[in-house]
Subunit: 229 residues, 4 copies
DNA sequence: TATGAATGAGGGTTCATTCAT
DNA sequence: TATGAATGAACCCTCATTCAT
């Protein structure tokens, strides 16, 4: 509303203006989602936060899921862009000083952990977001994802033991799976957190995401099959 | 209703009868869930399937989530019971013939895959089930889980490279995380499946759970840190 | 539905149209309530009666209670509007011919009795309606009530023995209390009615609202403290 | 439960024992009701508080309403027993020193106000309790009430201006109506209380029960019709 | 393009009461 | 008489989405 009242509101006519409006909604969604659970985020609230009417977000995103899928795409893009150069350096460094704190797993784990939005969006991807989109949206998303993954996959591939074509891609997928599972496990509900805290014997269930993710990734790399059966 | 109308219905007075009634509800829930998504399963439908009144399941389970958590507990128990002896043998076999099809990862992957109920329940655990339970239920669940995991963890531990105390538990947790992620990824929604099928370039996204899980588990084991930094 | 099917249905865009839609819902609620007890009135039924969708009433009234509170406000407003001129005349007449049938108590009792909706809403006010509203709704209601009461209170005040500032307001409040109690007592449930009818000794419990209300109001006026202790 | 475990629990066999068990349930209901709203009081909770099984209260009271009607009967009985002698004295005193603080209205108001259970039960009588009882229960209740009222009515009658036969009864009924209304009005919900407190202009709505009740009763007595039209 | 009024599907849960034991 | 397992009715409200304007 603020924007509208301040007279900054304009009708999006050109392509550029449309992109702006689109981002405006996306940013609003990110802000609202940073405060509330996905289920608790209403499209009305997003619209309000964006300073547009309730129906407006639907002019840019077919469904709530499509909107958040877009948000996730953006986040993944940013993350991967940050990862590529680091991956190269890290991989090199790793070759030089095995086990150093500057290892690739460490970089991956810490950089993901530094993206609260992404860590909350990732576990929603398959469980929620991909559940209510149409084939075309799915196609667009997967293609964009494949493109985004390509350079990172290529980098990883060069540094995987006995790296074969496609290994980089596979590695990312398994990394992804691991991330989804570990993120869920390391962010327990209030009740579970309380339960774990009340009994020392349950301490092993209380995971530290970065630590676990780094360790598991490291094992995944070290144990990467260097030859096929 | 069938049972009731057939006159087989009795009030559960003894502890034994109550356990039976409890299982009756649990079985009904499993049946209904095998057909519908978790969200689509209504307590009313479960009651109907169990042949009891709508309120009866609530005598045995405080909430829908508690009911399904119980189902998951049962499934995990069954699976682990099946896993313990196999794990021992497999580990032994593995030591003998490295890389054989009789490998531990293969057993784990195939036995999990053979439990459709469990594969659908596992991704719900942290994302849904643990979200609407009270502390006490959480505590009971985690304790039971810890107990169930103990023997399997012990077995695994003996066969992990440089296995240290707690490594077996850690291994199970990472396996769990991997399973959650890979299960979600390998069971795409209809729209995503269609999208993946329509573009050969997206084929790498089309995962085979058993294959992926086995490969990732193998890497996890092989790459298990045999010494600490 | 009738309206909608008849093609008369339009979206309320202007403020005026919105008021119309609001009244449409209010009228529907009045109609449904005239047939069923408050508890038996469902919002779904009100919506249906209004010819709108189940969610539509919630665009205009936050809760069922807020809706009926609004109905009550309207009824009180109408009643008081009818009362003001009458009160003046009646008071005058009363001064002339004390004890005449044209007395103020008689007018009040009969005019209230002639409003079936109001007589059923009044006993719900404190017991039900004010129980499930938020502070803001309460504030708005009480303020509106105070405004509505002002002119009537002023009129009454002039004709109360030794009328002091605030006495008119007090008088209305006590009248209100009396009305609530007598309305409840004179509208027994079917079982109570049957019981009273079956034993002549219980006849005194069978109250005639108008008669009782008039008598009690008369006493209240006559006995109004003309001087303070 | 405490009683049962302590071995104090006995099966009610004689009439006397049955009365005891009955009172035990009644006392439990009073205790639970003193903490929670009528709707929030569950029969299961009452049974638990009484140390009996869930079905047991139903052996003594046909419905929840019948149980609370009984409680009300007991409370009214106690109150009236306390009122009779006081009424006599007060009436006498009043004749002597008109307007003294020892007035009948004052006694009535303060003694009622001193019975929290009764003040909460009274507004429920017609609105709730009499709604779900059968004719016989209603008959029994009204007859008992008539008996209880008789002596008080007789006393009041002697001191009402121009007291005619039945006036005492009428007076109690109007007192009752006034009490119901004023009790409701002086015990606003949290939201209403907050609203009234936030706007000084609404202060007149914030009633003090004792003060209002006393004043209104006084007026009722003073204005009592000494001759009929 | 933007608006915002209107839609309508959707279900877990409580609890007074019953009745087999 | 007492138990407690079983019953089953009953419902407000949210909110993603649509579509007339």
């Amino acid at each position: 509303m603020a924007d509208r009242e301040a007279g900054k509101f304009i009708r999006a006519r050109s392509e550029n203006e449309k992109d702006l409006r689109r981002d405006q909604v996306l940013d609003a969604a990110a802000r609202v989602f940073s405060r509330d659970d996905y289920e608790a985020v209403t499209m009305a609230r997003v619209a309000e936060e964006a300073g547009v009417a309730k129906g407006t977000p639907y002019r840019y995103f077919a469904t709530k899921e499509a909107l958040f899928l877009e948000l996730l795409t953006r986040e993944i893009g940013d993350w991967f862009a940050e990862l590529v150069p680091v991956a190269d350096e890290a991989a090199v460094a790793e070759a030089a000083i095995a086990g150093s704190g500057a290892s690739l797993p460490g970089f991956v784990a810490r950089s993901l952990s530094a993206r609260p939005l992404l860590t909350r969006l990732l576990p929603l991807l398959h469980a929620v977001l991909e559940r209510n989109i149409d084939v075309e949206t799915a196609l667009r998303f997967k293609r964009r994802l494949a493109e985004t993954m390509a350079p990172v996959a290529a980098t990883f591939e060069r540094h995987l033991p006995g790296g074969r074509a496609g290994d980089g891609f596979s590695f990312i997928l398994r990394t992804h799976a691991l991330a989804i599972g570990l993120l869920q496990m390391s962010r327990p509900s209030a009740a579970v957190k309380a339960a774990l805290g009340s009994d020392p014997a349950l301490a092993p269930f209380d995971l530290d995401f970065v630590q676990e993710f780094e360790a598991a990734l490291g094992a995944l790399i070290r144990g990467w099959p260097s030859e096929h059966p």
